[in-house]
Symmetry: C2
Subunit: 338 residues, 2 copies
């Protein structure tokens, strides 16, 4: 008998978004075409600003979710391409408005649109893209899909306002934080996934499965993003490590470090986050405290928790390459941080 | 025989919005209820910001147009109340975003939301109201109405961006200016009026009549607004006279004065508008030049031109108190300036 080497599943294998990318490749080319055509306008500044952001290299995870969530149920029309494009436009509009709200200089390593064209253009081009998103949804003509996506638009805005109102407040609880990321990030993931089965005319169970998958994947995704802000390298992440700290954003790594820390630690956090003393020395100290109190490890543990819920949401669905690809995206989203 | 005193029609009579207000009174109460309930949110800042703007005393002309345009065709349901509220929310969202874009301090004589809660809240609460507007439209369930209103949302944003790109450019032509006000103002008036016959299930002719009425009323309305900025008193208008001048906005009174002026006048305008020298002395000089070259008189003449088109658009429709009220609104919109 030889030696048994335990294979720790999910550690040796490198989870990847590639299966999803491959499966949706042909449709994503149509999405990209539609993005370019619908971001067009005779008003020159609109395509300039829109293309700046669109070409800046996001993964386009959300539209791929919509495409996969329709195709996995055998959908054969072209409405999923329009809805996927709508979802990406809603996301892009949110980014444009976010950069104004957060006063961000960089996004994915490039200057933000507001730094090049001003806050004004960012606000208005965001509004234009949102309008185009709704027009495409109306073309699709599904009132159920319209309901899901317009509700998501409201919830996202509500989440952003909620985030403002908890900003720089060290008393923010993990529940407050979860409410924010559920609204500002997970709601669009959920809607992106739910409209797939809607246009594929499945039953209610499939809709709910994809909605739950999207919601929990979105939570995991945002938790990992927030961990990366204190752990990754700027080049990997395409944003500046420490951005959240400098902007006084309260994310889970900070909430955990604050709650688990000493009175002295808390005084530091108040001064840094509420008092705005966010220089590099303080950022170093923040990294140290977060590490000491397990802020990153446990943020990832929370992400894994939601990842498991997303996985179980899809469990009753029949095996297919689509399902496998969506499941692998969960692991990929979480593995980004390791 | 006594002396014949010629009655110049439309001069002795004081045109008023009152007949429209009276006819839509019961429905507008329902609109106002719906506004309050849909501007509500557990996120406290949202109703605060929304109510600040909503309670600041606008005429609510746009939702009254929607109500009248449905009721005049015998519409008896309640979808017009939801669509009227959607229209007002779209307008309110635009105002919130406009104040950020224009960096305005005052609107209708009150501090703008951005001065009290910051640009961030203005952007995001605008997004929230836009989302709520779309949700209400989806509840109504008319894809035609959704098409008209979502197209208007895109056109409005496009018009605002266009306005940015012609801002502070003295070479702007009257045609450029018309394109801007058609998109940023008239398109929503047109959509507000067109969705009335749509939900009343009229023929295409009635839809087109109301759309044309709304579009041309909107043009007249904005032309008069732009004249008032150089002619009215701040209290009448609820905004500061000279705001457009200080913001370097190119409106028709300025375009006319520039095109009709001497080389010396043009040098003044360049310095004032493009160079930002918009102190009170220069504002006085601008008033003087606009008056000398008939900038206000002829801006009103243009408004009367569009008012006549709006009137003729409704001409084939049968006589009714609704029609009379809508026609009187044209005269009212123009008479504001006299």
């Amino acid at each position: 008998m030889g030696v048994v080497i335990p294979l720790e599943e999910g550690k040796n294998k490198q989870a990847s978004v590639k299966p999803l990318v491959d499966l949706t490749k042909a449709d994503m080319e149509r999405v990209n075409q539609l993005i370019l055509s619908k971001a067009g306008s005779d008003v020159q500044m609109i395509p300039e600003v829109a293309n700046h952001l669109i070409s800046s290299g996001g993964k386009r995870l959300r539209p791929m979710l919509t495409l996969a969530a329709a195709s996995m149920f055998g959908y054969g029309g072209d409405h999923h391409v329009k809805l996927a494009t709508s979802v990406e436009f809603m996301h892009t509009a949110t980014l444009l408005h976010d950069d104004v709200v957060d006063e961000s200089d960089l996004r994915r390593g490039k200057s933000t649109a507001r730094m090049i064209w001003g806050n004004q253009a960012s606000v208005l081009v965001g509004d234009f893209l949102l309008g185009q998103a709704f027009k495409m949804m109306v073309e699709v003509g599904s009132l159920e899909a319209l309901d899901v996506l317009s509700t998501a638009a409201t919830v996202i805005a509500e989440g952003e306002v909620l985030q403002l109102s908890v900003a720089k407040n060290m008393e923010t609880t993990e529940d407050d934080y979860l409410e924010v990321i559920r609204a500002k990030t997970a709601a669009l993931f959920a809607a992106a996934a739910e409209v797939g089965p809607i246009i594929a005319n499945t039953g209610k169970a499939e809709r709910n499965a994809l909605k739950s998958y999207g919601m929990n994947l979105g939570l995991a995704f945002q938790l990992v993003d927030d961990a990366l802000d204190y752990g990754g390298k700027a080049a990997d992440l395409g944003k500046n490590t420490g951005d959240d700290f400098r902007e006084g954003k309260i994310t889970l790594p900070v909430i955990l470090a604050w709650r688990r820390g000493t009175a002295e630690d808390r005084a530091f956090w108040r001064e840094a986050i509420e008092g705005g003393k966010s220089d590099d020395a303080n950022l170093e100290r923040a990294f140290g405290l977060i590490t000491r109190y397990g802020g990153l490890t446990d943020t990832i543990a929370r992400a894994q928790h939601y990842g498991m819920i997303a996985r179980d949401a899809l469990a009753p669905l029949p095996a297919s390459p689509w399902k496998d690809a969506l499941l692998e995206v969960i692991d990929f989203s979480i593995a980004r941080v390791s």
